[in-house]
């Protein structure tokens, strides 16, 4: 008998957009035979949803489907029924696995955007930054994480972000919170906030006139299950995180210059190091976002494009948090 006769397809991650039920998404991991895990994200009855998730964990799909199918809650369907739909879509190939990280695209060409680094759960800081950005005609605001802090988990901040137009990616701590992998030292966070974090992308792509920008937190993306060196923006991530150590190793800049023409993006933004910086190399702009609050005060970065090219400015709004 050949080895392949025993082999099982690789477990992959899926995100299913539901219809007519409370949670807008179902996140699950499965292979051809086994439903490894499932999570109803973004709404619904959290207790029941967790129970269903626990009961179904690592169950054979052949046994799962008859249990789920045809249950009605409202509008002719239910969370279990939607999960059955999701599994059937996976089996038929209509639902494709997600790559390790989720990319959200902002297709609108922008002239001026605001960039925020680590907010660390502080709602007052966000308000102050928002006021400052409003006076400068910022068209879109992107935050590179972490939203959550080590002192304050920041559920109020995250709720406020949910109501705002700000677009954020998860930082390493946000990601750990989203999937209940945070260290025990970190403050408690409720399920609703975790769900919000689980629905955030890990990468945002955006457009500054004809230049493509990409924003991410840092190297935790490279450790995500299923990370591929060849998925969109993985090259930028590998070069920034691995090759240049977040642009701190200038000795390898000649190699970076050699690789840069293969980039999809022209503007590469990250925030892991907690330092502010801007480098222009091989026609690309590399921007490191420091924390929103540091010894300089409360800061954000403006990125503006005009006929003269791309202009980066760090803007310090004040040296103290207004209460």
């Amino acid at each position: 008998m050949t080895e392949s006769a025993f082999s099982m397809s690789k477990t992959q991650r899926y995100i299913y957009k539901t219809q007519r039920v409370c949670p807008p998404e179902i996140h699950f991991q499965a292979n051809d035979a086994i439903l490894e895990s499932v999570r109803f994200v973004g709404g619904g009855c959290p207790g029941n949803a967790q129970l269903v998730a626990r009961l179904l964990q690592r169950m054979p799909i052949a046994e799962v489907l008859p249990i789920l199918n045809g249950i009605e809650c409202s509008k002719g369907t239910s969370c279990p029924d939607q999960l059955a739909e999701a599994i059937l879509a996976m089996q038929s190939g209509k639902l494709q696995p997600v790559s390790s990280f989720r990319v959200e695209d902002d297709p609108t060409p922008r002239k001026i955007v605001g960039l925020i680094g680590e907010l660390s759960g502080d709602r007052r800081v966000l308000r102050q930054l928002t006021e400052s950005m409003a006076t400068r005609g910022v068209e879109a605001v992107f935050c590179a994480g972490n939203l959550t802090g080590t002192e304050k988990a920041g559920p109020k901040l995250i709720k406020e972000i949910g109501k705002s137009a700000l677009r954020a990616v998860t930082g390493d701590r946000d990601w750990a919170y989203a999937y209940e992998m945070e260290t025990k030292k970190l403050p408690f966070i409720d399920r609703k906030t975790r769900d919000f974090l689980a629905r955030l992308p890990q990468v945002i792509s955006f457009q500054m006139e004809d230049r493509k920008g990409v924003l991410f937190f840092g190297d935790y993306l490279q450790t995500m299950p299923g990370y591929s060196d060849f998925e969109p923006y993985a090259l930028e991530i590998n070069m920034v995180c691995g090759l240049t150590d977040f642009m701190r190793d200038e000795t390898v800049f000649p190699a970076l210059e050699a690789m840069a023409p293969q980039f999809r993006a022209d503007i590469i933004i990250f925030s892991q190091t907690g330092k502010w910086g801007h480098w222009h190399l091989a026609g690309k702009d590399f921007i490191s976002l420091g924390p929103a609050v540091d010894r300089d005060g409360i800061s954000w970065a403006s990125l503006e494009i005009d006929s003269g090219g791309l202009k980066y400015s760090k803007i310090v709004t004040s040296n103290a948090i207004g209460v």
């Binding site: 993985a234 590998n238 090759l243 190699a255």
Partner: protein, 76 residues
């Protein structure tokens, strides 16, 4: 760079093993950093960087390989 190695004479290819790393990958980046390379293309022989930023002439590659081969096999 690998092309210049592929066209080496058979007697030279018989005494070497060739590895190529893809700089787009994490593995390639890791090897690049282990070798303390700075630019591309980079060529190492026996784990030591020999050429950077240039594609050496075939004669130069052959001479260097033969030199290293002789050094390693002295007294054998």
């Amino acid at each position: 760079m690998a092309e210049s190695v592929k066209v080496l004479p058979e007697d030279i290819k018989a005494i070497i093993d060739v590895y190529e790393w893809d700089m787009r990958t994490r593995e390639g980046v890791q090897r690049f950093r282990e070798l303390k390379a700075k630019s591309l293309p980079s060529v190492a022989l026996d784990g030591e960087l020999v050429w950077q930023s240039i594609i050496p002439m075939q004669e130069e590659i052959i001479a260097k390989i033969q030199d290293l081969y002789r050094q390693k096999n002295q007294g054998v």
